[in-house]
Amino acid sequence: MSKQPGVLAIGIARGILEIKQFMRQRESVVFTLLFPILLLLIFGAVFKDEIAPDVTFSQYFVAGMIASGLVNTGFQQLAITIPMERDDGTLKRLRGTPAPTASYFIGKIILVFVSMIVQVALLLAFGVALYGINLPSTPERWLTFIWVMLLGIASSTILGIAFSVVPKSGRGASAVVSPIVIILQFFSGVFFVFTQLPTWMQNFAALFPLKWLTQGMRSVFLPDSFATQEVAQSWEHGKTAIILTAWLVAGFFIALKTFRWERS
């Protein structure tokens, strides 16, 4: 008898299957990939002013949209679809096979990773074509972009898996998860300039990953001169990395401990 397939091999097979299933749900493909572009068009049409010298609102907004795309595609999507998979028996069936729990998680991370790459590529292409968005100009900025993206994908995915135990059923999941995401988007400076928000809102948002993701993305897409307008008057890369990693690690252990395969 040959050796049993490993955690990673099964995880990659699951990732490929997840992508295939995702592509076949046309509504979710359209929502995930085109909604950020739609928002960019709406906000781009409403706010035409520069918010700082050489910084258009669209430029500011692109950073926020990529960050909130991470939260939508990872956290929100998984916290809604995993309860559905619990309801329709996907998870119970998986539990009855040799596939390890971690392989299921790896499959989800691959799904979120691939859909984020496509989503961001589309958003940036539209942004550049329609609003003259400036792409990151130096290798350092691209490097920042990559680590913020990767840390964002990982933490958002893991937190979505961890949160999936909260909704009691797939049908009710959206009502539980969506308000949390929308409120965080308002509080974290996605739709508005963060420093113009009330201080209590800023402090509250600073507890959660989205604020740090948007700030990290601003450091990629806005000129360094804008850093002085941040709350701490700097991009706070170190703090961003620490807080996102803390959420990732905490989320990982919570997900592993509390993950539910069946409706109770």
């Binding site: 008898m1 040959s2 050796k3 049993q4 397939p5 091999a9 099964i10 097979a13 299957l17 295939k20 299933q21 076949r24 749900q25 998979e85 329709d88 028996g89 996907t90 119970k92 069936r93 539990r95 009855g96 096979t97 040799p98 596939a99 390890p100 069946e262």
Partner: protein
Amino acid sequence: MSNAIEVRGLRKSYRSGKSVLSAVRGIDLEVRTGEIFALLGPNGAGKTSTIEILEGYRSRDGGELTVLGEDPATTNLPVWRNRVGIVLQSTKDGADLSVAEILTHFAQYYSNPRDVNEVIASVGLEEKRNARGEHLSGGQRRRLDVALGIIGNPELLFLDEPTTGFDPEARRSFWELIRTLRSEGRTILMSTHYLDEAEALADRVAVMNNGVIIDCAPPEQLGGRDREKVNVRWREDGALHQELTDMPTDFLRKLAARIPGEIAELSINRPSLEEIYLQMIGGTNE
């Protein structure tokens, strides 16, 4: 080891608020390697709890058990599950994947999977191999469930109410599939509501009620069925007669001697499994 499953004193209860429901109250069970073993019982008898504990889905409150020589509660689950196939009750997953895609994917989980095309053929889904899950009928869906249960080439297969909702023809051909799996040397533990199914398939049957096993025997001996009185019916002088007897052969000789030629409307029946079963269940209901 000759027994695929051994259970001693298994207990399981569920707590809801302040009340405690005892679902399984100390059962013993042996399933021999290579046999089809059926677990019968009304809803709420504890069948599913028992099977799910054996499958490693649920914890138990007490008792000892081994399944393929391992205790599912303490074994390395992924390694152990490589040897076990599980067919759950009604499922709806994989609606947007085709039969071949789902099976090809699940085959990747096992060290020694069966050939996908061979499995599709063995469950009779060749014509549906490219149909998506959502376009399968109830019976086809169940065949896919069984295909997923056997794709890993398991030594032991669990079947939880496999033919619920089937039409009679689909059930007959499904039974053939199960017999084929046994002839390949696999052990099968099934639960069912259908007595004719248990009678047609099972080498041995256990009847469960209120969390205990009230009898365990080959279907033809269940509940002392082989020792029950036999019902002989016939028509004589225009009237229907019947006789309950311990000695049907002797009785028939006398009858044949008395009545010249064919005996009209002659039938000799042992109590059906259903009659015996209903007696057993009725006798223990509180």
